[in-house]
Amino acid sequence: AMVTLPCGVAHASDTKVHKESLNIKDLASYSTLTEAQQQVSGVVLDNNGLPLPGANVLEKGTANGTQTDFDGKFSITVSNENAVLVVSYLGFVSKEISLSGQTNLSVTLEEDASQLDEVVVTALGITREKKALGYAVQELSGDDIKNTAETNVVNALAGKSAGVFVNSSNGNVGASSRITIRGNQSLTGNNQPLFVVDGVPIDNSIVSSSRGGYDFTDMGNGAADINPSDIAEMTVLKGGNAAALYGSRGANGVILITTKSGKGKGFSVSVENSTTFSNPFLLPDYQNEYGQGGGQQFWYEDGLNGGKNDGVDESFGPRLDYVVQAEDIAPGGKLYWAIEAGFPQTPGEILTLPQFNSPVDPVTGERTPTPWVSNPDNIKNFYDTGITRVTNVSLTNGGEWGNMRLSITNSDQTGMVPNTDQVKNTINFSGKANLTDKLSFEAKGSFINSNGNLNGSGYTFNNIGMQTIWTARQVDWDYLKNNVENPDGTQISWISRWHNNPYWIQYKNLNPQTKNRFIGSSSIKYQFNDWLSLSTRAGIDYSNEQVELIRAYYGLNDTEGRYAVSNYFRQEINADVLLSAVKNITDDLSLTANLGANVMNNQYRLQTSSVNKLVVPNIYSLSNAKETPTTTFYQREKEIQSAFASVSLGYKSQLYLDLTGRNDWSSTLPTGNNSYFYPSATTSWIFSETFKTDRNFLSFGKARLSIAQVGNDTDPYRLDATYNASTPYGDNASFSLSSTMPAADLVNELITSKELGLDLKFLNNRIGLDLTLYQSIAKNQILSAPLTPTSGYGTQIINAGQVNNEGVELILTGTPIKTDNFSWDITANYAKNTSKIIALNGDVERLELYTAEGNQITVVAEVGGEYGEMWGKGFVYHENGKPIVDADGVPLTSDVKKLGNIMPDWLGGLNNSFSYKNFNLSVLIDAKMGGDVYSRTNQDGWATGALTSTVGLNPNGVNVRDPLEDGGGYLFDGVFEDGTPNTVYKDLDGFRWNSFARAERWLYDASYVKLRQITLSYSLPKTLISKLGLKAVDLSVFGRNLALLYKKNENFDPEVSNRDASLSSQGSEFASNPSARNVGFRAKFTF
C-alpha cells in the first residue's frame, strides 16, 4: 500500500513507514534474526475442572495473545521457550506461568470477584491490562446486552454504567435514543460519545426527516443498526482522558464495540432466538364524563362546523352516559337546545345525538341520533401488542490458519402502533488469516438491510400521539378501525376539519424506510519481532437510506395526495497506520509505544424530491404529479488528518505512566487555524502491590490520575456567507442571504479534562469501591448561537467562552453471600454531574441555545448558570408562596424567567444478581433525580378537556363544569395581590384557553425511579447437554421498562421526549406515543 503522511508530519517517519511496509523480503529476514520461537498449547479449566472458553492467554510483556476455544484449549506461538504466559478470565484470578520449556499446559484458574487482572480493549483497539489504566473504563459483555433482547444498543446501556445517561424517545418502532457520558460538554453540539465498531468509527447521529418542519419521521440513531447478537463486548471509555487517541470526536467519551470472531473456538454453530412483547407503558388519565363540543352542546353534521360545535375536537360537549330528566328538556332546561334543534329525547333514557357514526336515514339523508356514551378504552385498545423476534445463526471456526465467523440475524419487529414495523437482516463476517508467522490479515464487516414502515413523530397530525390528546372522549375508535373510507375512497373521520381517521393515518399515510448499511474494516499486521509490529487498517461506514412520505388522496391537508422520497447517503472512511512497540526494557520496566496516523473523510448527501398533488390516487411515484416535482439536494464533506503518538511505561506492575499526543488538521477550520495539537498524561499506582497489603483486608488498591486535552473542529461550510436560492420568479432568479452569520476567524475547541480515581477491593474482593472525580473545562466552543434577528442574522457561529463540567462517579460492588451453589452480587452506581457556564462570547451574558417546539421554553446558557436552564414565562408569586391572580381571578404572567433545567441532578443504578447453580436472576433499578420537562400532554389535555384534570369537584363541592350560577366553575389556587385567597370562579370552557404562565404551569419535575429490567437466565448443565450432542443451551426470560416506582409528574413517562431523542427535543414532551413495557424470552443453542 502507498502511504504518505499528512503535510507537516516529520518526513523521517514517512520514509521509515514507507520502507518497512513495502519491503517484504527485508521483513521476512527479520524472523531469522529473532530468538527461537516456540509453539505452546494447553487447556484452561476452572476449579471444578470445567473448561473455560474465551480465556485470554497473553505472552507477558508483549501484545502477543490468544483466547481459549470452546473446550478451553489454546495454542500460541511464543517468542522463546522461557516466555511467561498470563492467563486471565473474567471473574477469575489471573495466573502467570513460566514456560521453562513446557509446550503443553493445563492451567486451573481460581474464581475471583475482583476481575482486576482482566485485559481490556482500549483506544485504537490496543489491549491493555485494566489495572494499568489511569482512567475510568467500564466493560459490558455481549450477554449484558443480549439477555434482554434489546434491539437498540443504546437503550441496553441505560442504568448499567456510572455516568452514562440514556434518553429514549418513545416506544415507536425504530425510535431514536440519545446517550451522553458525564453530562454535556458542548452547549449545542453533538455531545454523544463516539461509537467505534472493530476500530471503525461509525455514525450515531439522530435524524428525523421532516416535511416543511412539521411532519416528522424519526429515523432512529445510527448505532441502533449494530446487531446485539454480534457483540462480543463493549467498553465504555468515559472521559476525554480515555479517548485522547480518537481525536475530536472522542471528546464525549468512546463506546468501543468488539464484534465476535471465531478466534480459538474450533468449529461450532449456534442458533439463537428471542421474542419480546411490547405494550404501552403509561397512558394519560383520560376523563370519560364529557364528550365532544363546547358549552356542553354538540351535534354532528359534517365535522366542519356545519353542526353544533362539530368543528371542534375538544371534549367540552354534553355529559356522556347521561340519563335525561324531564326538567332537562322542558323550555329553559339544560338539554332544551337539543329539542330546539329537532332531536327529541326520552326522559329516563340516555341522551341521543347525531354523531359522526350515527346511521343516515336513506329517505331524509339526516343522521338518526344515537346514544351519547363514553368510550373509556378507545385509546388503550388502539395500541397493539408489539412483537420483536430476533433469530441468529452463527458459524465459527478457528485454527492455526486463522479463524472465521459468519453470522446471520433476522430481527422482525411489529410495533404497538398498528401497521408499523421494521425488519432488519444483518450478515456479519469476521475472518483472520495468518498468512505467515509474522503477517496476518483480518477483515470484519457487517451488512445491514432494514426496511419497514415507521410511525410519524413530533407534534403533527400524522402522529397518532397528537390525536390521542385531541380526540374527543366519546369517539369510538373501534368504529373508525372498521370504517376507514367510504365506497368512493373518501375518508371517514370523526372530524374532517382537524384530524384524519387514526387508522387512515396508519394504513394509508405511510413512512416507509429502507436502509442498507455496510460497516467494515480490513487490516494487515506485520509482527517484525516479539516487540515491534506495524499495522494498517482501512474502515468504512457506508449507508444509503431511503425514506418515503406517502400521503393518500382525501387526507387532511393532502386532499390530492402527496409523495416525497428522501435519499440519504452517508460515508465515512478511516485509514490508519500504526507502528507499535511492546517491550520489557528491564525486568521491572515495561514499555509500550505507538506511532500512528489517521485520515478521516466524511461525506453526506441528501436528496429529496416531492410532489404535492397526484394525478392518480394510490400510485406513489414522482411522475404521477399534477405539479412539477421539486427536488432539493444538499451535500457536505469534511476531512481530518491526524498524527499521534503514545508511550506507556510500567514499573514493577504497580506504577504506570501513559503519555499521548495528537495533532489534527481539519478541513472545516480557516487556513491558519486548522492545525491543533493536544496531549494527555495519565498515571496509576497499585499501592496495594507496593505495600503488600493484607489481601484479606485490602485486597487491591489503585489510585489514578489523568490530565488530557482534546481539540475539536466544526461542521463544514461555516466560514463564508452564502445565499439561498428560492424558486425563480418567472425568469427571474431569487436569492436571499443566509440568516447564519459566517465566522471567518474560528479556532478549534479545546477541552481539558482532569480525572482522579480510586479503586479499592476489600475482604478478599467481596466489597469493591470505584470512585472517580473529574473536571472538564471546555473552551472556545464552536456553536451556532441565536441572535436577535434585528442584528441582521438569526444565528451566528462563534467560539464561545467556557463550560466546566465537574462530577463524581461511584461504583460499589458487593457479594453479601457466596457459597458453592449460591451467590448474591450487588452493583450500585451513582453519578452526579454539574455543568457550569463560566464565560460566553466576549461580554455576552446570556445565549439562547434553542427554543423547544411550541415556543414556550427556551434553553438558555447564562454566565454563572448551569447547562440546560429552561426559561419561559411563569407565575408571579406572592411572598406567601402562592401565585398571584388579578381581580378577575386570572393568574398573572411573569416576564421570561428561569424555570428549571433539562439536566438531571444525579443518576443511579442498582443491580442485584442472584446465582444458584445454573440459574441467574438479575434485577436492575435505575433512577434519575431532578431535571424538568415541559408537558404538552398536560397542557393540551387541559385545553381539550380530555384529561381527568378537567373534571371533578371544585372547592365548593360542585362539578367544575357546571355553570357558575350553580356554584360550578374552576377556581385557580392562588391569591390576590393582598395575599387573600382567590375567590373568583371561572367558566372552564372559556378559561381553558387562557395561556397564563404557560411555560411554568406545564413544567414538571422529571425525576423517576424505574424497575428497568429483570432477567432470569438458565444454562443447562454441561453434563446434560453433552448427552444431547450440544455444547451449550442458554435460556432466559426478561422484562424491560417494567414499572415506575417513583415519579413526580402526571400523565406521561418522564423518560419520553419529543419527536426524537435529539438535543433540541430534550426538556419537552409533546404527546408522543407512549414508551413500551417489554417482556420476552430468549433461547440459544450451541452445537
Partner: protein, 468 residues
C-alpha cells in the same frame, strides 16, 4: 491509502450547495416578494382586530390572546437584511434605481413593523457583520425617530430615481417602471405624514403640502391604473396570488366576514361592495357576518371572504390604492391644509375610486344618509369609516387607521372580546417577540420602559402616533 494534503481543504470547505455571491437584483426580487407576502395578508391577526375577517373556531387570537410566542422579528434577518445587502452592493455599482427601489421597499417594511410594535431597532439594526462596528444587540429606537428617517429615505429615493432607465424584470412589483416607483414613494410619504399627523401636525402639513404643490418633483398615485398593485403569476403554484385558496381549504374556512363589516355595508345599502367583499352563506344564501371572538357557529351559516377579487389565483396584492391617497387628501383638506381640492371633493373621489376599483358605480351611494358628506354625520368620522371600508382587506393599514382615527366606532357590546380583559381595553399593538427578552435583553427592557403605560405588551398605551 492515500493521505492528501491540507492544501485541498479550502476548496473542500467551500459550500457546493449555496452560492457565495449573487447579483444584487436577485436579492431585491426575493425581498419584494417576501415583503408583499408579509404585510398584506388577508387571513391574520390584524384582519380580525380590524373587523375585516374573523375566525369562527379557535378564536384565541381574535380574543387578543396573542403573545410574544406568536410573533417574531424574522423580517430583519430576512427581507430587511437582503435589501440592506442589495443596497450596499448597488451603491458599489452606482445603480441608483436599484438603490431607490430597495430603499422604498425598506421604508415600506419598516413603517409596517413600527406600526405594529412601536419602538423597534432601526438605526443600529442589520449591523451584526459591520466591518468597523459590529452590533449584535441593536438599541430600540423611538417610533418618532424612525418616522423621521423613513421620510428622509423616501425623499432621497424619489430624488435618486432616473425614470429614463428601467430597473428591469428583477423588479417584480412594477416590472422596472421607475415612474411607478416615484408615484408609490411619494404616495407612501403621504401615508407616513398622515399617520403622524395627530402627534406632529406641523411636519405632516408641511410634508403633504410640499408634495401636493410640486407634482413634477413629487408625482403621486393619481388613478386606479397607477395604484401600487402587485399582480402575481396565476399559473405558478409558488407565485400565484398569496390570497388564493383552493376550494377544499375554503370549505374549511377558519375566517368569515365580520358581522361589523356586513352590517356596515348593509346599513349603507352598499350591496355592490358587499357582493365583492363576501360570499353568501352556503346554507341560507344570505350575507351573515360573525361578531369577533364568537365561538361555536356553523361555517355554512356564515359569509366568507369574496372569491373573485380576493381569493383567486390572480387576485392582486393591493399595496397602495388610489382611494387611500384621496382619503388622505380629504383628511388633510378637512384639517385646512392646502392640497388643491376640498375635503368633500377628495372624499367623494375616494369613494368613487374604491367602487371603480371593482368596476362599480358609486353615484347613488354617495347620497346615502350615512355616507353623504353633508348628511350630518361628523365629517372626520365619515372619512375614517369610509377609508376603513375601502381598505378592506389590507389589514395592516386598516388596523393602523382604526387605532389612529378611532373610526369606525365598533359596537363593542355585541362582541365577546370586550369582556375578556376587563379594564385593559382593545389590543393596541403586537407583543414583542418572546425571544427578544433573551437575545437582546437590554434593548428590550429599555424599549419597555421607554413606552410607559403598556399593559401585557399589547394593551394600554398605543404606539407613538396613536393618541386616540
Amino acid at each position: 491509502l492515500l493521505f492528501s494534503c491540507t492544501e485541498d481543504f479550502e476548496e473542500m470547505n467551500t459550500s457546493p450547495n449555496d452560492l457565495t455571491s449573487v447579483p444584487y437584483n436577485t436579492l431585491i426580487t426575493n425581498a419584494e416578494i417576501s415583503i408583499l407576502q408579509a404585510y398584506n395578508p388577508i387571513l391574520n391577526n390584524e384582519a380580525t382586530w380590524t373587523r375585516y375577517n374573523v375566525r369562527d373556531v379557535y378564536v384565541d387570537v381574535d380574543r387578543y390572546g396573542i403573545t410574544g410566542s406568536n410573533t417574531n422579528f424574522n423580517a430583519y434577518s430576512g427581507h430587511l437584511k437582503n435589501l440592506q445587502q442589495a443596497i450596499d452592493l448597488a451603491v458599489a455599482a452606482e445603480d441608483n434605481n436599484a438603490i431607490a427601489v430597495a430603499q422604498i421597499m425598506k421604508a415600506y417594511a419598516f413603517q409596517n413593523l413600527t406600526d405594529w410594535y412601536g419602538d423597534i431597532p432601526y438605526f443600529e439594526a442589520l449591523k451584526a457583520d459591520d466591518k468597523d462596528n459590529p452590533i449584535i444587540y441593536p438599541a430600540y429606537d423611538s417610533q418618532e425617530s424612525i418616522y423621521a428617517d423613513i421620510i428622509v429615505q423616501l425623499k432621497a429615493a424619489n430624488a435618486m430615481i432616473d425614470t429614463s432607465e428601467s430597473m428591469g424584470t428583477a423588479d417584480v412589483v412594477f416590472d422596472g417602471d421607475m415612474t411607478m416607483w416615484k408615484k408609490f414613494a411619494n404616495s407612501l410619504l403621504l401615508r407616513v405624514y398622515m399617520r403622524m399627523s395627530l402627534v406632529d401636525p406641523t411636519t405632516a402639513q408641511n410634508g403633504i403640502e410640499e408634495i401636493m404643490a410640486d407634482p413634477s418633483t413629487y408625482p403621486i398615485i393619481d388613478s386606479n391604473e397607477s395604484a401600487a398593485f402587485k399582480y402575481w403569476l396565476p399559473e405558478d403554484a409558488t407565485y400565484r396570488s398569496p390570497y388564493y385558496m383552493d376550494p377544499t381549504t375554503a370549505a374549511q374556512q377558519q375566517n368569515v366576514t365580520s358581522a361589523y363589516m356586513v352590517d356596515f355595508l348593509k346599513t349603507r345599502n352598499d350591496l355592490d361592495r358587499l357582493a365583492v367583499y363576501a360570499e353568501p352563506a352556503a346554507s341560507s344564501g344570505e350575507y351573515v357576518g360573525l361578531p369577533l371572538g364568537t365561538l361555536g357557529q356553523s361555517t355554512q351559516d356564515l359569509s366568507i371572504m369574496g372569491v373573485a377579487e380576493f381569493r383567486s389565483a390572480d387576485s392582486p396584492t393591493r399595496i397602495m390604492r388610489y382611494s387611500e391617497v384621496l382619503f388622505i387628501l380629504a383628511e388633510a383638506a378637512l384639517n385646512g391644509w392646502n392640497v388643491g381640492m376640498t375635503a368633500q371633493e377628495a372624499y367623494e373621489a375616494a369613494i368613487t375610486a374604491s367602487f371603480e376599483e371593482y368596476g362599480l358605480d358609486a353615484s347613488t351611494y354617495l347620497s346615502e344618509p350615512l355616507v353623504d358628506f353633508n348628511g350630518g354625520v361628523d365629517q372626520r368620522e365619515l372619512i375614517g369609516e369610509q377609508k376603513w371600508c375601502a381598505l378592506y382587506p389590507d389589514a395592516a393599514q386598516g388596523w393602523a387607521e382604526v387605532r389612529r382615527t378611532g373610526y369606525p366606532v365598533y359596537v363593542a357590546t355585541t362582541e365577546p372580546v370586550e369582556n375578556l380583559f376587563p379594564g385593559k381595553g382593545t389590543i393596541k399593538r403586537k407583543p414583542y417577540p418572546y425571544t427578544e427578552a433573551i437575545s437582546n435583553p437590554e434593548g428590550f427592557n429599555a424599549a419597555i420602559s421607554a413606552q410607559p403605560g403598556i399593559i401585557d405588551e399589547k394593551f394600554g398605551a398605543g404606539v407613538w402616533w396613536d393618541v386616540n
